[in-house]
């Protein structure tokens, strides 16, 4: 339903806008057709009654044809065509009332002919204006919604950051090292602190350069490296051109965490995580690949991925992509972001 009906105050306000609009239209046609006040009213009142409802219809049209969906000429063409149809329909109603009231106001239908062009043009323009207004409203709504979603996702990502499993296992590693290798224990404390601090700092910003996200990812992997030792092996293949690409903060790190938690951690011998970064036509391509045990007890990896997917959608609509491929023993997640270069 059109949002204007959600609150009767808005609806009344909307209707009241039509009073001056109707007055202006009335003045125009009464001048063009030399009509008297009552004659003008007989034509204008039904026209306005119909028009104020017709001008709510763009709500549906505009959502079906989002601004970015197709080329500007096509979009404009479609709306101009719709405006012409609306003008035609309204003109028909005006003519019907003109001839209907001819009995009371002799010669009204004849004199109205002279006012037809100005009425049609005005109606078409009012309709086009309502389309423009609707686009503005829809745009404002979408951006508010995506901002909300992004904030929520960020909060969740942050919460996931200090994922209790990761934190407690890391603390346990530190506890193990204190007696065997105090130096390494201290080093691990520092790595963990670095990671937590950085993720808190980055989480406050909506976008960060890819380079910074990868630094955070490395801090995370540094900590996990202590836990998993040689079971966790890394290979990075990142094009320097990706460095300054803009990415949503903390979007990639959860993917890396998934690769460790659901891949490496459940493999006896561990394995190599391969991270790939490329500049592509669409923007930035990032993929992460890890070996996994297809026989392993099912784990809840879906939640993290769903979260990433949701954030992508809120941020980029259909332009951001997240693809998941699972072969016999390799799991690959590919991310494509329509990324601008920062700075």
């Amino acid at each position: 339903m059109h949002p204007i009906f959600q609150n009767w105050k808005f609806f009344l306000l909307y209707l009241s806008v039509w009073l001056p609009l109707g007055a202006i239209l009335g003045v125009l046609i009464s001048v063009a057709g030399s009509l008297r006040t009552m004659e003008t009213a007989a034509i204008i009142v039904p026209v306005i009654v119909v028009l104020d409802f017709v001008c709510l219809s763009p709500w549906y049209v505009c959502r079906a044809l989002p601004l970015r969906s197709s080329g500007a000429p096509r979009l404009l063409g479609q709306h101009v065509l719709a405006a012409m149809v609306v003008a035609g329909g309204v003109l028909l109603i005006a003519r019907l009332s003109a001839s209907g009231f001819s009995g009371i106001f002799p010669g009204l239908d004849r004199r109205f002919v002279a006012a037809q062009p100005v009425l049609s043009v005005m109606v078409a323009m009012i309709y086009l204006l309502s389309i423009a207004m609707h686009y503005v409203v829809i745009e404002a709504q979408t951006s508010r919604r995506s901002e909300l979603l992004a904030r929520e996702a960020q909060w969740r990502a942050l919460k996931a950051q200090v994922n209790p499993h990761f934190l407690f296992n890391s603390l346990n590693s530190i506890s193990a090292l204190t007696s065997s290798d105090a130096g390494r224990a201290r080093e691990m404390c520092i790595r963990l602190a670095d990671f937590l601090r950085t993720s808190l700092r980055l989480g406050e910003r909506p976008s960060i350069p890819f380079r910074e996200e990868m630094e955070l990812t490395r801090m995370y992997l540094d900590v996990e490296q202590v836990r998993f030792g040689r079971r966790l092996r890394l290979h990075e293949d990142l094009e320097p051109a990706c460095d300054e690409c803009e990415v949503p903060a903390l979007l990639i790190q959860p993917l890396v965490e998934n690769a460790v938690k659901h891949g490496i951690a459940l493999l006896d011998e561990g394995g190599e995580i391969l991270m790939l970064g490329r500049r592509v036509r669409e923007g930035l391509l990032f993929s992460i690949e890890n070996p996994y045990d297809p026989q392993a007890p099912a784990s809840r990896s879906g939640i993290g991925l769903a979260n990433v997917r949701q954030r992508l959608e809120a941020r980029y609509g259909s332009a951001g992509k997240l693809e998941v491929e699972a072969s016999d023993d390799v799991y690959r997640v590919t991310l494509i972001l329509p990324s601008r270069t920062l700075g």
Partner: protein, 247 residues
């Protein structure tokens, strides 16, 4: 006393080892295992009195290990926070240690172990523990059974049917029958009710395997499976089957 430590992280095993050596000089560490298979194997071979068991491990998780080992072994879970597992610990484990844990906490656990060594695990069977630890709406994707000293994993999709046999269930999969100590009711509770239907007091059948249902006597039917085997179907089972198939 003999102990086995099962954890996939070297450092995590190190903590337990260190505490055992320092606090329980009379205790011998018979084996250290880095995955679930090894843990089951070591428990069979070394016959330990106590098993320190992590939950998330390669091959088999801690709950699966628990299902497959001798019920007399005193199990101490050693794990990081797990919201689902927590509530289940009390049931089958002597104690649980949450990583990281201090030496006092370890001593307390060892006191419980000493008191309980040799006693049979009371309370519920470990398979029910696993059910309790699973979040609502998630079902077992696989069933683990012991095959001599080895562990066999039956993916849920490859399980044809299960038959109750006293304290055991016979699990029919790929032309073989595996015996597992479990009640058919707890197996039924663990498997996805949309895929497995209890057609009879003693039979739980994989819906995908049923090719047709023939009338047998008044009030009983026979389910004919893809491999030709015939499973008795009770009146209640017939109703459940129909309810499931008709959605």
């Amino acid at each position: 006393m003999k102990a086995v430590i099962a954890d996939d992280e070297d450092l995590a095993r190190g903590v337990v080892r260190e505490y055992v050596l320092r606090e329980c000089p009379e205790m011998e560490i018979a084996a250290e295992c880095s995955n679930g298979f090894e843990a089951v194997k070591a428990c069979g071979e070394c016959k330990p009195d106590v098993l320190f068991l992590d939950i998330q491990m390669p091959k088999l998780d801690g709950f699966e290990v628990l299902e497959l080992i001798d019920a007399r072994i005193a199990v101490v879970f050693v794990t990081a926070f797990d919201q689902y597992a927590m509530r289940a610990f009390d049931a089958a484990a002597v104690d649980y240690l949450l990583k990281p844990f201090g030496v006092e906490r370890f001593r307390a656990a060892m006191e419980k172990v000493t008191r309980r060594v040799g006693e049979e695990r009371p309370a519920s069977l470990p398979v029910d523990l696993k059910n309790a630890a699973r979040p609502v709406g998630e079902y077992l994707e696989r069933v683990v059974v012991k095959d001599g000293a080895r562990v066999h994993v039956i993916p849920a999709g490859k399980l044809d049917y299960a038959e109750a046999q006293d304290d055991y269930v016979g699990l029919r999969s790929e032309g073989r029958t595996w015996l597992k100590q479990q009640t058919i009711a707890s197996l039924e509770a663990a498997l996805d009710p949309k895929r497995f239907v209890r057609v009879h007091r003693s039979y739980l059948v994989n819906l995908e395997r049923i090719t047709r249902i023939d009338p047998n006597t008044k009030d009983t039917w026979l389910a004919v499976l893809a491999d030709g085997s015939k499973i008795p179907v009770s009146r209640g089972g017939y109703t459940r089957f129909n309810a499931l198939v008709r959605g």
